[in-house]
């Protein structure tokens, strides 16, 4: 469902990636997305950073067979090719950032007679309890703490639904993608890694080298995406304010979008 809406708006003219058009973009640019982003912060993370990603992606793919692909397809196409990592990075960031902005868009209040409620659906809440053994409100604090320990630099937080319809929390370093697990980029090898992380990597490595011709199948789909790059929070919150930013995002999500992303 979300994929369709993504793809529709990503490309207007052939071979050029343009910033997807959001509803009420003018008022968003003026007011930002209170209380998450100020107008300046919104301009940075969307009007500028997304434009930056789109232009870079266009330049990196122009004139090649990837030219007319959507970012989502570019991600899948380049994920296995180490020599196209820079294209993968751009496509993944473009796609993730779109998912992010979609799920923090302010909720349309609706007319007086029909008030639209902005709350997680019951299915979502029960799924969370089933998968994590915790209430959503408690899980939020866990997520914030985990982001702080796991994402030292740039990255994305992504709540995903896997093939078994279980929910999972992924902490993607830099421009990892939730769609293909060998490129999740969950582990920061710049610091010392422990045996668990090493065996996780080793397992994937064996899987990849054993499946040279067969495809590795990954049916994971993102449900909630949060931008943990500097472009999203630095302007409004400062270096030390990342926790506060995450707190604001997790408490002001657009559930109309997220509930639809979940498999019913």
């Amino acid at each position: 469902m979300f994929k369709k809406s993504m793809l529709k708006s990503t490309i207007i003219r052939r071979s050029i990636h343009t910033v997807p058009k959001l509803p009420n973009i003018n008022s968003l640019s003026k007011q930002g997305i209170p209380p998450i982003l100020s107008s300046k912060g919104f301009n940075t993370v969307w009007n500028q950073y997304q434009a930056y990603l789109c232009d870079q992606l266009t330049m990196a793919t122009a004139g090649t067979s990837l030219e007319s692909y959507y970012p989502f397809h570019i991600i899948l196409n380049t994920a296995k090719k180490p020599f196209q990592t820079n294209i993968f990075n751009l496509a993944s960031a473009t796609h993730n950032n779109h998912l992010f902005i979609e799920n923090i868009l302010p909720v349309d209040k609706g007319s007086n007679s029909q008030k639209v409620e902005n709350r997680p659906s019951d299915i979502f809440l029960s799924r969370i309890e089933m998968s994590f053994g915790k209430k959503w409100d408690d899980l939020k604090d866990n997520i914030i703490a985990d982001i702080n320990t796991k994402l030292l630099g740039q990255g994305w937080f992504c709540l995903v639904e896997n093939a078994q319809k279980q929910l999972q929390a992924l902490y993607l370093q830099n421009n990892g993608t939730p769609y293909y697990f060998p490129r999740n980029q969950l582990i920061d090898m710049n610091s010392a890694i422990n045996i668990d992380e090493f065996s996780y990597l080793q397992k994937i490595r064996e899987m990849v080298s054993n499946n040279k011709n067969g495809k590795i199948q990954d049916w994971t789909l993102p449900i909630i995406m949060i931008n943990v790059w500097d472009f999203a929070y630095l302007e409004d919150y400062g270096v030390a304010g990342r926790k506060k930013y995450l707190h604001n995002v997790l408490n002001n999500l657009n559930w109309n979008v997220i509930n639809k992303r979940l498999y019913n």
Binding site: D55, N86, N89
Partner: protein, 268 residues
Amino acid sequence: MKIQTNAVNVLERTSNYLNSGVLKIPPTWFNVIAKYPPRKQFIREPILNDPVTGKSRVNSLKFKDGINKKGLYKTRANLKDKTSGTNKLYKPVNLVYLEDQLRQLFYEQHPWERSRPKILIENTNMSARNYDWSQIQQLGKPLDGESVVQRSLYLLKNKQCSSLMGAYDQARFEFYRIRMEQEIQEQVAMEEAEMFGSIMGLSAIDFGIEKEQEVIRQWKKKVIKETELLSARRANPSESWSKEGTVSKEKKNIEKVNEKDEIEELLL
């Protein structure tokens, strides 16, 4: 064959039909043909001057006054001089573009630029006219030899460089700088992704080796089979009673093949 003069009158005929009401709606090609009507003159005329250079295309029958090598004095043009003088006058003039020469030079100097994959489908929305060559990079156009050519022509036209070669060199060096940046970009992105726990498939070189090995393995199977057949055919029917002889021969052949295979793999 008679010249088909009727065909070129199609425009007049159609417009008559339209006027008289035989045709109600003008055909789709009507406006196009009206804008570029077919040529009606079928007589070829000699092109005496080259339209580009303005030089005369006629080889005037000149020969040097004075004594030639043989010590004779040439007084008039011979048959060869006469024929070669005018036979090219009816041929269309060659189209000469500066771009073509630059293109050829660039790809001669950078043969590996040809190996970059490129989409050949033309994109009508973004004709070359939309590009602004005051900069070498264009949004939606890959950086390639064509960029260098267009950029150097721009530099020449706008008097930023005095000579063609100077302009070409500047465009070329700009091109190199961007290529260097791209190359490092690719390497660093790869390194960075690996440092953040990405597991990727085979590198470009490994992929090539794997593909080659596949072919070699196939070839090995095929050759062993063929040698077996060959040795079976060659084997003396009387020898077939003493099994050892044939077997040893076959073995030898197979060993030879294996040796060959090993050499092949070493070469890789």
